[in-house]
Point group: C2
Chain length 323, copies 2
Amino acid sequence: MNEFALIRQFFLRPAKRVLQGGGDDCALISPRAGQVLAISTDMLLEGRHFFADVDPATLGFKALAVNLSDLAATCAEPLAFTLALALPEANEAWLQAFSRGLFECADRFNCELIGGDTTRGPLAISITVFGEVPPELAARRDSAREHDDIWVSGELGGAALALAMEIANRAAEGPRRNGIAALVERLERPLPRLALGLELRGFIHAMIDVSDGLLADLRHIVEASNCGATISEAQLPISEDVRNLPLSQRRRAALAGGDDYELCFTADRSQREAVIAAGAKADVPVTRIGEITPPDGIRVMDIENRPLDGAALAALSGFDHFD
Amino acid sequence: MNEFALIRQFFLRPAKRVLQGGGDDCALISPRAGQVLAISTDMLLEGRHFFADVDPATLGFKALAVNLSDLAATCAEPLAFTLALALPEANEAWLQAFSRGLFECADRFNCELIGGDTTRGPLAISITVFGEVPPELAARRDSAREHDDIWVSGELGGAALALAMEIANRAAEGPRRNGIAALVERLERPLPRLALGLELRGFIHAMIDVSDGLLADLRHIVEASNCGATISEAQLPISEDVRNLPLSQRRRAALAGGDDYELCFTADRSQREAVIAAGAKADVPVTRIGEITPPDGIRVMDIENRPLDGAALAALSGFDHFD
């Protein structure tokens, strides 16, 4: 199968909301009146972001979902995406499953594929997503204010625990142990918090999605907003399976575990009821975990309300691709 | 250097024409009133699209230029781009040179970097470009009409010859032979025909950029437009150095050589003077090379005006990543 037949068979669909989809030199899209385009891009590599033998349908779903999470963090509504794909070979069964997972995510979140590129090489997936948002309602990282509450959606640590279990499974000789299904689902098929992002439009201050770990991502808000933060370990919403871990592992999963794709945001104290109502409408729990402070880094209070010391915090630094 | 420091040092610049550039979850852009966004994406891989020891400044320039060529083929004007970059290591000298070449191209064609992603892995570059075009003036592949003239900009075959010379240089033992500077420039720093695309707005029919070879790319027009084409070998604008090659090599470079990034387009016969005037305004030669016919594939007439037979044509099929 050549490159163009491959694209036609697995990836080309008629344009729906966009003016012109794939199949030409360029796609054509336009935001609705009063809105602008929110754009984000990610690259996923085999061995770095996923295992070589990952289920391709799962990979297709996740590759788009993690990009949509950036739209959620901007309060944007999905519109379209492009896909650049490097493949070791044109394996039809693999492509069939990958495109099925990709379009499952695309259809679920109403986002259409409008163009792409395929080439032969080590498996790599680069997606760029486009969403719509009225510019005055787009959430940013640099808008946190002193005394803001800090909130997080859903639960933390599940994806990190699932990954740790998967790595342990792979390291163990003998028959493969089963993971915990809900946790694996969490790692492999994250659900971007798009509905929550839309419900939070207009009254929150700063927002980011938790992809590298809560502390690492909250640090982006704190640095961009020129402020500090104090969060309380006792208040963190932690996945049930993570709660049973020893303290050091639990702490690491909740504060430094990546891949949860929850939203972390700040809002004025007067908005507490509005935030909770937004969570209820979006059917996602929201939990108040701390407060924005004057610029002094991030303090984490342990369950006895004592600040974690520097060594404990350093052990919790988030994932960095070039560290 | 960690991932975020790397992005700040080499890639983060303040937003100019866009609403919000890099450094947040999403960039925000909007086309001007009456225009829509033209979007294209490409992925370049080491060993597939460039040599591992390529000059990184050249690579940075070309990675953006080949994407801008898709905007040119749509008659769009560059606005912005995103960059996803996988790197084996955070080599500062390499990044310095790569970003210099990238921004040289970006500044020359007035296109700003608005976001991206960096990760560690085999060198891979994925760029998505955004241009502006009034939707009714966007050129497409499916709009060729019977009896249209077929035109091509600039000269063909130079990049293919430069690549062949480079491969021969690398295969040869002993000191490296010099290429022909202008040809190597052609291969390594293609100049997207953006000015010509703008001048052609509104009165041409179909257009594509020549990235995989004239025949392969003209075939996309012919198939999308449900027509045929006859082109004349004698009329092809061929790079001077290519003209001196033996017939089979000359033919292959001109008809099947990729990487020239010229524009191939069709227009009504009544527009000949307008096309030539557009070329003059954009300071790019334009050459009439044939005619759109009823649907019957592509015929190539040789210099004695006899059609090339099937075997000769088959030997000229364009580059395909999965053939």
